[in-house]
């Protein structure tokens, strides 16, 4: 959420390195709130991008323009962990006078255990928890049992006990959607795959992990329209007998019906 008032904030998008977020706070104020510019907060359309642009990229531009008077800096994910859209927007924002710090993941890293991707519970809530880990190093409830699917050992953190791992009945693959209403269709035993799982694993640039799904699990491969990840979703849906879904901005009734049918019939 965006703090009320006209106080300074630090904007970010994608999954920037935490050291850069910490550096931004050190430089501009340790107390400054971090605001995820990927999210649709209802900012007015800045009209600076073509209509056929991924909604997430459009959100970044609209939010930046809307909050321009408050943004001390934008910490921008511009590497393989994000997309060309993220890199191009950083260039545009710099040209518009924004203070931009670029972040790139270059592979490797210790990784983190999977907790919310593989546990039971409302899908939207678990995706929210995962995205919180971008700025909060330990996912709430990271004290889990056994090794994670990512291969990294689970850690005892003293945090709130995590829900136990469940066997997946369905899968959701993709990025957090612009419109979360679609997530309410999935049963609680849905596992999370794709880039969202990569975020929880702390490896947002890991294409092998991003393209992993458990064989035999009926999976919806979701992308925003006009996103390069549609190539992956199309291929993976064909390969695994899943359902490819893309959506521009809000989810409509037809898309909801399509996902509902897939979940009920698969």
């Amino acid at each position: 959420m965006i703090p009320e008032g006209d106080g300074r904030i630090i904007g970010y998008y994608g999954y920037p390195r935490r050291s850069l977020l910490a550096g931004a706070r050190a430089a501009f104020g340790a107390e400054l709130p971090l605001v995820d510019l990927d999210i649709d907060y209802g900012a007015p359309d800045a009209g600076l991008l073509p209509k056929a642009t991924c909604s997430i990229i459009t959100n970044i531009m609209n939010n930046a323009v809307w909050l321009s008077g408050r943004l001390a800096v934008v910490v921008a994910a511009v590497g393989e962990d994000k997309c060309d859209g993220g890199r191009n927007i950083a260039w545009l924002l710099k040209g518009m006078g924004f203070n931009v710090v670029e972040s790139r993941f270059t592979g490797g890293g210790a990784g983190r255990p999977l907790v919310w991707s593989t546990s039971a519970g409302p899908l939207a809530e678990r995706i929210d928890r995962i995205m919180e880990t971008v700025v909060e190093p330990e996912p709430r409830g990271a004290a889990a049992q056994g090794p994670g699917t990512s291969g990294a050992p689970r850690r005892e953190t003293g945090a709130i006990a995590a829900p136990p791992r469940c066997e997946p009945t369905h899968g959701f693959w993709g990025v957090p959607p612009n419109d979360f209403s679609i997530l309410g269709l999935f049963p609680p035993t849905t596992h999370i795959y794709g880039w969202t799982r990569c975020v929880e694993a702390g490896r947002p640039d890991d294409l092998d992990l991003e393209t992993f799904v458990d064989p035999g699990v009926p999976t919806v491969f979701f992308t925003q329209s006009f996103c390069a990840k549609q190539n992956l979703a199309h291929y993976l849906a064909e390969r695994h007998g899943g359902l490819e879904v893309d959506c521009h901005r809000e989810i409509n009734d037809s898309i909801m019906a399509k996902v509902e049918a897939f979940i009920k019939l698969s």
């Binding site: 329209s225 007998g241 359902l243 490819e244 893309d246 409509n252 009734d253 037809s254 898309i255 019906a257 399509k258 509902e260 049918a261 897939f262 009920k264 019939l265 698969s266």
Partner: protein, 214 residues
Amino acid sequence: MLIADCGSTWTKILDTGSGKLEIIKTRDMVKRRDLHFDVATGHSAKGRCAVFRNELIALAEGALALVPDPDFSVVDVGGRDVKFVRFRDRRVDKLDWNLSCGSSTGATMELLGNYYEIDFRTLPPSADWINVTCGVFGMEKVLEQVSTGTPAEESIAMFLHGIVRNVYDFAGRPETLHLSGGFCENGCFLKTFAGYCDIKPLGRAVPLEGLKAK
């Protein structure tokens, strides 16, 4: 019991007691405040029925009621979308619902046919096709063909051929494909499709069979 499949352009209503099937334009159906269905499916059915059923589920269950084969595929080409279900051992193996690239192709076909006064029962198929990215882009291609001298009949047959290619690819290029929806009554569409696979029309009441099945 009154059941209905309320599509974007046509509404199919079946009285299960008498067996009477009525097909009316959806634009007329929405004006009739007296019409209320026991069970219904389709874009325009919400708020007009006691029980609403998902269209893709109705199609799948209707196809199972009509086709005895263990393995088969069915596609419904509607006014504004295309739905597809593939069965293995009479269980759903794959399904999809094209809401964007298939958007409005059926409705556009009807609009063009009415405008150019085309009889699709006698329209000869065309060996050529135009890319039908969606209804609007497809219409633009038809108008371009007509403006550059291609007869309207040939241009529309090419448009129709473009839809056939899209549907065939969407269904995964099967050897045999069962067809649901209004295109079952379009002779040119069926003849064009026969150049790609064995096409078996099931008629316009497949989703109604699905509603009856439950």
